[in-house]
């Protein structure tokens, strides 16, 4: 359940950035390689938001698929599922370009 620790961190960031206002929505980017379970993160988020300016806010997650550049043949690939494998040459040695995001992108705040 690393989702709970991640939820705590998200709520902390949102509370700080809210500057005393109420947060109505939190928009996140979550990379495929983070192995975050969205339902678990949403559940944890609701739990740890209680009693904070984030309480009752909606959590929106944009899931980012994995992409990588093959160190063997140089081809850039969208990487569908695990294991990560180059679609060009079948190699496994990849430089990860996308899919490791774990970021609070934006907030929606009530007008002061």
């Amino acid at each position: 359940m690393h989702e709970l620790a991640i939820a705590e961190s998200v709520v902390r960031i949102a509370s700080r950035q809210a500057d005393g206002r109420r947060v109505t929505k939190v928009q996140m980017k979550v990379g495929y390689l983070r192995q975050v379970v969205p339902s678990a993160l949403t559940f944890g988020f609701g739990l740890v938001a209680e009693g904070t300016p984030v309480e009752g806010a909606e959590l929106q997650m944009e899931q980012v698929p994995a992409e990588g550049r093959c160190r063997g043949c140089g081809v850039e690939n969208k990487l569908g599922s695990l294991p990560l494998q180059c679609g060009g040459c079948g190699g496994f040695d990849l430089e990860i370009l996308k899919g490791e995001e774990l970021m609070v992108e934006s907030l929606e705040l009530e007008e002061a």
Partner: protein
Amino acid sequence: MHRTAVKKVVLENVLDANDTLARANRDVFDRAETYTINMMSSPGAGKTALLERTLERLRGELRLGVLEGDVQTTLDADRLARFHIPLVQVNTDPGFGGECHLDANMVRSGLGELPLDDIDILIIENVGNLVCPAEFRVGEDVRVMVYSVTEGEEKPLKYPLMFRSADLVLVNKVDLLEHLDFDLEQFLGNLDAVNPGVRTVLTSARTGQGIGEWCGWLRQRLENV
């Protein structure tokens, strides 16, 4: 009452706070010239048993210290107490019923009780878990995974986050291979698929197989510093 909402762009990485603390821990380790290993595995893979064999062999040669992470109990720390090395237990249960991993702040809370200047290698025994510890850097130089052959061949494909981040994988309980259907070649192939070229050592804490090679790897860490 009608309220209008306003959007605020934040662009803040969720793990930034942890990574900042991890870098601070790393500075503390570097100043003390302490090489630090984050040891991770599933529950029951044999981390503590391997540490017992390691301490039996290297105590008196290298100055080792251990930071034990567990959700609850001091059972693991109690097993290592007989070696009379610097040892601190960090329990993660003050969180929501117990965090399933160590983070940089939890490790920092234990450092005050360790004489780092007198420790060449600090081994941080993380909470047994194949997913969560991989997300949280704690200030380590390297990550060592312990994987037991009773866990099946496919786990590197199912839990690539941790297997990809390991610098060394100790494949433990190999004394059981003759009793299992575990296909070692297939496991090593799966491991190489997610972490190409990663070094492995076949170990058995029970028979002592591979402990010498693992201890040799530990000695080499200090030569490279």
